[in-house]
């Protein structure tokens, strides 16, 4: 054995003994003979398998290049990120989150029953504090047969909920345990929801500086307005909103940072930041037509800065209805 190693490996003779270097299947080995005994030691580095180099090259060559975000998109993204990061976190804002959740639940319950809720008092104030408040159109959104008792899945659950504790549980508290996705699935299967009016407070204004074209710096619309969502199908998972034109014919880009879908036709827009609406300074009656980037969906913003609040709009509408 020793002889064969000596025969096949280049062997070096030194002052303290002999050393031989060999390449084997597991890598490069060094054999050292200090005391007339071969000590075999393999180096740590193993040789790579034969397919490795080809795989490395193939993977590196297939690196996809990400499409560039344009400045407007980046600015909208930044503004939305800053605005969202300033919101109180759910974990640290228990009372507000609870009130908001209760408000959302009231709305959901009302939408399901076909009546129109209107948040008043502290609920409305607290909801406005977190940047959004909601009013649903005062006409039946769903028919009576879409009441929760006949929705599939829910009826079965109720029949299974027996016992003193669950008997005391109200429908609203029971539905608070249902996952929102199931809500939307059930609604999508049953509800002919057509119109949902969502007043949105656009949140804090923050104008990020654009690096290249200061004259085209976007204007953040931070007024409070009413966003009307008209949908033929479910809301897309993300709302990329294109501001098609304002009164002056300007166009821009908006990004709805987050929203809560409550049905196939609408969602509660919890935070919206609109960029790129280049209206003249002092223009007080900007009306924006906003269209989703997705098909079969339109988002119209009849927001105006004339001082008409959603509440007064509601009152006017009530008065009109009464006159009729």
């Amino acid at each position: 054995m020793e002889a064969s190693r000596e025969r096949h490996c280049p062997t070096f003779y030194g002052r303290f003994g002999r050393a031989a270097v060999a390449r084997g299947p597991r890598g490069i080995g060094i054999m050292i003979d200090f005391t007339r005994h071969w000590i075999s030691r393999f180096m740590a580095k193993k040789s790579a398998p034969s397919w490795r180099a080809e795989l490395d090259n193939a993977l590196r060559d297939a690196r996809p290049s990400a499409p560039e975000l344009n400045d407007r998109q980046a600015a909208a993204m930044l503004a939305a990120a800053i605005a969202q990061s300033r919101r109180p976190r759910r974990s640290s804002s228990g009372p507000i989150a609870m009130i908001t959740a209760c408000a959302a639940l009231v709305i959901l319950a009302a939408v399901m029953r076909g009546v129109s809720p209107r948040l008043t008092g502290s609920s409305a104030k607290q909801s406005a504090m977190v940047g959004s408040y909601v009013r649903v159109e005062k006409r039946p959104l769903l028919t009576a047969r879409d009441s929760p008792a006949v929705l599939p899945g829910i009826r079965g659950k109720f029949s299974r909920l027996r016992g003193p504790k669950t008997r005391r549980r109200t429908w609203a508290s029971h539905m608070s345990r249902v996952h929102p996705r199931k809500w939307s699935e059930r609604l999508a299967a049953n509800a002919p929801l057509k119109l949902l009016s969502v007043p949105v407070n656009y949140g804090p204004a923050y104008v990020p500086s654009l690096p290249h074209a200061p004259e085209e710096e976007p204007v953040v619309n931070n007024s409070t307005g009413r966003l009307v969502v008209i949908m033929d199908g479910p809301l897309p998972p993300k709302l990329n909103v294109i501001v098609t034109s304002d009164e002056q014919g300007n166009s821009g880009y908006a990004r709805v940072a987050s929203y809560t879908p409550i049905g196939p036709g609408g969602g509660v827009l919890t935070q919206t930041t609109v960029h790129g609406v280049e209206s003249e300074e002092g223009a007080s009656t900007s009306r924006y037509g906003i269209v989703f980037g997705k098909p079969a969906a339109r988002l119209l913003n009849d927001c105006s800065q004339t001082g008409a609040t959603p509440a007064s709009t509601e009152k006017e509408r009530d008065d009109e209805a009464h006159d009729e």
């Binding site: 397919w51 490795r52 080809e54 795989l55 490395d56 193939a58 993977l59 590196r60 060559d61 297939a62 690196r63 996809p64 290049s65 990400a66 499409p67 975000l69 998109q73 980046a74 993204m77 930044l78 939305a80 990120a81 800053i82 969202q84 990061s85 300033r86 976190r89 923050y206 990020p208 500086s209 690096p211 998972p237 993300k238 990329n240 990004r255 940072a257």
Partner: protein, 186 residues
């Protein structure tokens, strides 16, 4: 020669100091500092999200969510790793969340298969992308970070919050899995 070396060192120190100052300002919620952070890092973060998710819309969402998370947790960032690594970690987590949601929703495949008359290079790229799509996200992340983002094993370990040896082992397994599906050999 000596003065130029000193200049480079001084520039590095100034840049580091500048970054520290800006980070401190960002922790206080200063909008300009947050904007600097975004402008400096949003491209690599977006590219990483796109390479992980293969969809522009999802990549935009993940990028924004990553920066929201980063801005919220800036006060917890102790500087143990580089800012880029820290942002990558958040972006990877956001991308994983999106991938899980996508799996639940069982959406359509992101990339279309190439036409038969495409060049071999495009066909090969599509095949690689297809194999990566089929792999588990935890394994795909390793390959993306190593081959496409050119991160070292140490950086990958930091991004994934695992030990160096675990990163090496997972990379080896991911490579083997990829080869098994792509080339037919382990």
């Amino acid at each position: 020669m000596q003065s130029s070396t000193d200049g480079i060192v001084l520039n590095d120190m100034t840049a580091h100091l500048d970054e520290s100052v800006r980070l401190a300002a960002a922790r206080l919620g200063e909008p300009n500092a947050l904007e600097w952070l975004f402008q400096t890092y949003h491209r690599p973060v977006y590219a990483l999200c796109y390479r992980l998710l293969s969809r522009v819309d999802d990549a935009e969402d993940a990028t924004q969510a990553a920066f929201v998370g980063a801005f919220r947790s800036l006060s917890k960032f102790r500087g143990g790793s580089s800012v880029k690594t820290w942002l990558f970690r958040i972006a990877v987590n956001e991308s994983l969340n999106l991938l899980r949601q996508r799996k639940r929703a069982a959406g359509p495949p992101a990339r279309e298969s190439p036409a038969p008359d495409e060049t071999p290079e495009i066909v090969r790229r599509a095949a690689i992308a297809s194999v990566l799509e089929r792999m588990r996200p935890e394994q795909r992340i390793l390959l993306v970070l190593f081959y496409w983002e050119d991160l070292s094993c140490e950086e990958i370990a930091s991004v994934l919050n695992i030990s160096l040896s675990a990163a090496k082992m997972r990379l080896k397994r991911a490579r083997g899995e990829f080869q098994a599906q792509y080339g037919g050999e382990p």
